[in-house]
């Protein structure tokens, strides 16, 4: 038994020795090996920094309150529990608000995909007097910090007179999703300038032959766009949809501004943490519980996004290469 172990060990040592010799006497290989090691360490380190907050939240969300006072508990909880998730779900009205948020985000993302594809195609393939200027305005629209137009936008939607068509008090659109829908329909919602830009770059990189064939066959520009260009724009369509969905999901600024009263997830999460941070009315919840519950709530918040990303990641990462965003 011992002999065989020794034998195996010596064989392994010999293997390593020849391996080292082969590698050591070959400077190019040695360099490659060193770089591979450095790269592995760097990639692992950076990945750790990215995943670290997630891990912290996970271990916090899964532990019972006693573990917070237990100095021997650092990463692995001693008393596993799902009670934090239950409290968070109850206080956020998770199922309801997640459904509402999914509905609103899908709607906005679908609109934005359609609108930005159309506008981007228009900029990519047609030029008319002023089209360059309008495209410059697209880029400018990205640069205006939302806080500059925040107050006027809020007031215009609070007293919405269809810009002078209705009588003075107008409609109150705050607390409905109409402001966001209208902005999405006109390609001015969150970061839509970026979408228009990348769609334009993508269409510019596509060959003209297909379109020309369609024109020769007598298709109108709209028909050509719908049945020739859009079916060939799968990757960019998916990128725009994913980004738009995710950015609306994570958005607090516009939701807080326009969607007051609708319990979308960011607002639900915000009110949950505020309630826990500033009021001590619930006797069942003590100070150390806040962190645990909000950790669970944060995980619940990102869970649907992680699922979406998990399903789409392969296409996502590959389509970046295909899209040639940079064109």
């Amino acid at each position: 038994m011992r002999a065989s172990v020794n034998l195996r060990a010596s064989a392994a040592v010999g293997g390593i020795r020849t391996l080292l010799a082969r590698r050591l006497f070959n400077p190019a290989r040695l360099g490659g090996l060193t770089w591979a090691t450095v790269r592995a360490v760097l990639v692992a380190g950076i990945s750790f920094v990215v995943v670290f907050p997630l891990l912290v939240r996970m271990t916090l969300a899964l532990r019972a309150v006693e573990d917070m006072m237990d100095l021997t508990v650092n990463w692995v909880p001693r008393n596993f529990t799902v009670v934090n998730f239950q409290i968070a779900m109850k206080h956020m009205g998770y199922l309801k608000s997640a459904t509402i948020t999914t509905a609103i985000c899908s709607l906005l993302a679908a609109i934005e995909v359609a609108v930005c594809m159309m506008i981007g195609y228009g900029f990519a393939r047609f030029s008319y007097p002023g089209s360059r200027f309008l495209f410059a305005l697209v880029l400018l629209s990205l640069m205006v910090p939302p806080s500059v137009v925040m107050v006027p936008l809020f007031l215009n939607f609070r007293y919405f007179t269809v810009f002078g068509l209705l009588k003075e008090p107008g409609l109150n659109l705050i607390g409905t999703s109409w402001p966001l829908i209208m902005m999405a329909l006109t390609g001015t919602a969150k970061k839509n300038g970026l979408f228009i830009y990348i769609v334009r770059q993508y269409f510019r990189g596509m060959a003209h032959e297909l379109e020309e064939a369609a024109y020769v066959d007598g298709a109108s520009p709209f028909r050509t766009f719908l049945s020739v260009m859009v079916p060939n724009a799968g990757p960019i369509l998916m990128i725009v949809f994913l980004f738009s969905f995710v950015w609306h999901w994570n958005d607090l600024f516009y939701s807080d501004l326009f969607l007051r009263g609708i319990t979308v997830l960011p607002l639900a999460l915000q009110s949950l943490t505020e309630r826990f941070a500033y009021s001590w009315s619930d006797p069942n919840i003590d100070g150390s519980h806040i962190t645990l519950v909000s950790s669970a709530a944060m995980l619940l918040y990102i869970a649907p996004l992680l699922v979406l990303y998990g399903v789409l990641q392969r296409h996502f990462v590959e389509s970046i290469e295909k899209t040639g965003i940079v064109g």
């Binding site: 047609f126 107050v151 006027p152 390609g187 995710v246 915000q270 941070a277 962190t291 064109g327």
Partner: protein
């Protein structure tokens, strides 16, 4: 073409111009209604006082009062302004360097590259704005040093290295930069994407030719990759400046927003936003001027 019959006879060129306008007109409308109009209003608001009622809002001109109040009366604005902009000026070059570096790594072939890419782009998905607020209000986790702990402990490092005041400031600066690393990685997702897409568009034949001529990997990086990537630096500088400045989770944006509803009122908040916008334009202009000197376009 059907449109040709419906419309008065147009040349093919003007037909195409018209179609182009039809395709892009949603943005023209949106820009006018949801950007230009509020933009002009916000200039007006910054010089006036607003009062709301159920019947509508009224404005009355007050001259430079709002600006005066922002600069000389508001106790926190100047400090938050300087701190935020200072922080952004450190972050922007760091984000650029990091994302370029990360993109070059992700462009190489190695085992687990797909996994690495998935993890590197994860911050794009996880950047919920509400989390920033939670991290700020969570006193408990701060006390426990879990959620918001930096990579290194400032106090310990000061004790170890900081003998005099001068070394202490140096140590403080270094530690501060190190503790920004997570923040920088979080902010680099899209920039990595842009660089990566550009790296993939460099034809392999260039590298092959360099290899045949006996260039090392190091040489072909500096002679081929880097020059071709300089225009992308422009794109990424613009994106980073805009993204970090307009990100609703930076402190100044939060302060401007909160002062609209609680502090000085709408006019003051808009005046603050205008200072901020001007600073953004200034920094973007300077950055572009510096970088555009180094750009060599193909052809």
């Amino acid at each position: 073409m059907k449109t040709g019959r419906l419309l008065p006879r147009l040349s093919l060129n003007s037909q195409r111009s018209l179609m182009g306008f039809v395709f892009t007109c949603p943005f023209a409308i949106g820009f006018a209604l949801f950007l230009l109009y509020p933009f002009v209003q916000s200039i007006l608001f910054s010089f006036s006082e607003l009062s709301l009622s159920p019947e509508g809002f009224t404005t009355s001109l007050v001259g430079l009062k709002n600006y005066h109040r922002v600069l000389f009366v508001d106790p926190r604005f100047r400090r938050v302004f300087v701190e935020t902009i200072g922080g952004l000026l450190i972050d922007i070059p760091a984000v650029l360097m990091f994302s370029f570096f990360a993109a070059t790594i992700l462009n190489q072939k190695f085992k687990g590259r797909l996994l690495a890419r998935i993890v590197f782009f994860l911050p794009v998905i996880l950047g919920a704005e509400v989390f920033v607020q939670i991290n700020q209000t969570e006193y408990m986790s701060q006390a426990l040093g879990m959620a918001s702990k930096g990579i290194v402990d400032m106090q310990q490092m000061k004790v170890i290295f900081g003998g005099t005041r001068a070394t202490e400031t140096v140590v403080e600066f270094l530690m501060d930069s190190i503790n920004r690393i997570p923040q920088i990685i979080q902010a680099s997702g899209i920039q990595i994407l842009i660089f990566l897409a550009a790296l993939q568009s460099i034809p392999a034949s260039l590298y092959e030719a360099a290899d045949v001529e006996g260039a090392t990997g190091w040489e072909s990086f500096w002679k081929i990759t880097f020059p071709l990537m300089v225009p992308m630096f422009m794109v990424n500088i613009a994106y980073t400046v805009i993204d970090t400045f307009t990100s609703p989770s930076n402190r100044l944006m939060m302060y401007i927003k909160s002062s609209a509803w609680t502090g000085g009122g709408y006019g003051v908040s808009v005046a603050m936003a205008w200072f901020y916008f001007l600073a953004l334009m200034l920094i973007l202009g300077i950055a572009m001027a510096i970088v555009s000197r180094g750009v060599q376009y193909e052809s």
